[in-house]
Amino acid sequence: MPERPVAVRARSRGRPPRSPLEEFEQVYLRNVDVLMGYFARRCHDPHTVADLTSETFVQAMDGFARFDPRRGSDRAWLFGIAAHVFARHCEQSAGGRDAAARLGGHRTLGMDEIEELAERIDAEREGAALMRRCARLPAVERAAIELVDLDGLSPKEAAQALGVSGVAFRKRLSRARSRLRKEHESND
């Protein structure tokens, strides 16, 4: 097994990052799990979840020099990227192109990694079910529910990820929750 890069061995948990790479590593550690969940609710194939997660962080790493934490949280920024990555994936899939090939052919997954990702997809079943229940909601309200209630973003972060104002976002979220609650009550 090849030796891991120094940056990986010398994790910077618990102290301020000393380089952009360490800073990005902390961003990665804070967000990789929740972003995997975001894709695991959308895709049933572990390889696709792996590819989309990888592509999101590749794009994030390439653009990290321009990311300004004073303008919003890293999580909101990453979810903005993830939304673009997934939209592009859907466009390419509809066109019959293979996502993995398009994304540059990320490395082959080991069996244990495939099992981990499959378990993650399975763990997102409830979230995926909630999203199916939200299918009748407008896309903007569905996104509001997902980002806040499933992905754990604050309303402020979710508004940033969607590129809308906080006021508009809170209205969407409130409206979406109200509709879901009524639906839940009517099903009881």
Binding site: V34, R66, A76, W77, E116, P155, S165, E185
Partner: protein
């Protein structure tokens, strides 16, 4: 981290790290988690009193990852056996029409008092409309993570905060550009 996320970071650091290491960043890093520890996602938990993020990867368990039950007095008990289930537990609350979300903070060591912890409104949050919410980690409030997993050791729920639909938005940093 899982093997996949560990390997992915290795690939990212190897292939893109050298370029990033030379990059100029707008300002020294800020850590939102340390200043505003709303920690709901996946397996990342806040450490009360320390303010450091810790990704707890729990081993496979035969018990359900989480459970949400309503007591006769109207309070809600959320039992969490795997940290990755926290978003699902919050989703369940939403599905039940409860407009409150849980943020939990783990602390090292065994729980001084076994049993569930009653959640309190997060700082700055008031007028939460929902019922009282309690959180139980593991079977009795103490979670033991085996060596070999990230976060190995004994942990307990140090605090549990509730948040509702709050916050204000701004723009910027949207998208990859």
């Amino acid at each position: 981290m899982t093997k996949f996320t560990d390997h992915l970071w290795s690939d990212l650091a190897r292939e893109h790290g050298p370029a990033l290491a030379q990059a100029d960043r707008p300002e020294p890093a800020r850590a939102p988690l340390l200043r505003r520890p709303r920690v709901l996602a996946g397996s990342t938990l806040g450490l009360a009193g320390v303010g450091t993020a810790l990704a707890l990867t729990l081993g496979a368990s035969s018990t359900p990852a989480f459970a949400v039950t309503t007591s006769g007095d109207g309070s809600v008990l959320v039992t969490i056996n795997q940290t990755t289930a926290l978003p699902q537990a919050n989703a369940k609350l939403t599905a039940m029409g409860i407009h409150e979300q849980i943020t939990i903070y783990m602390a090292s060591g065994a729980a001084a008092v076994s049993g569930p912890v009653t959640c309190t409104p997060a700082p700055g949050v008031s007028n939460l409309p929902g019922p009282p919410v309690k959180v139980l980690v593991g079977t009795n409030g103490t979670q033991v993570i085996n060596s070999g997993n990230t976060g190995a050791g004994t942990w307990h729920l140090g605090a549990c905060h509730l948040t509702g639909d709050s916050g204000s938005g701004n723009t910027g940093n949207t998208g990859p550009g």
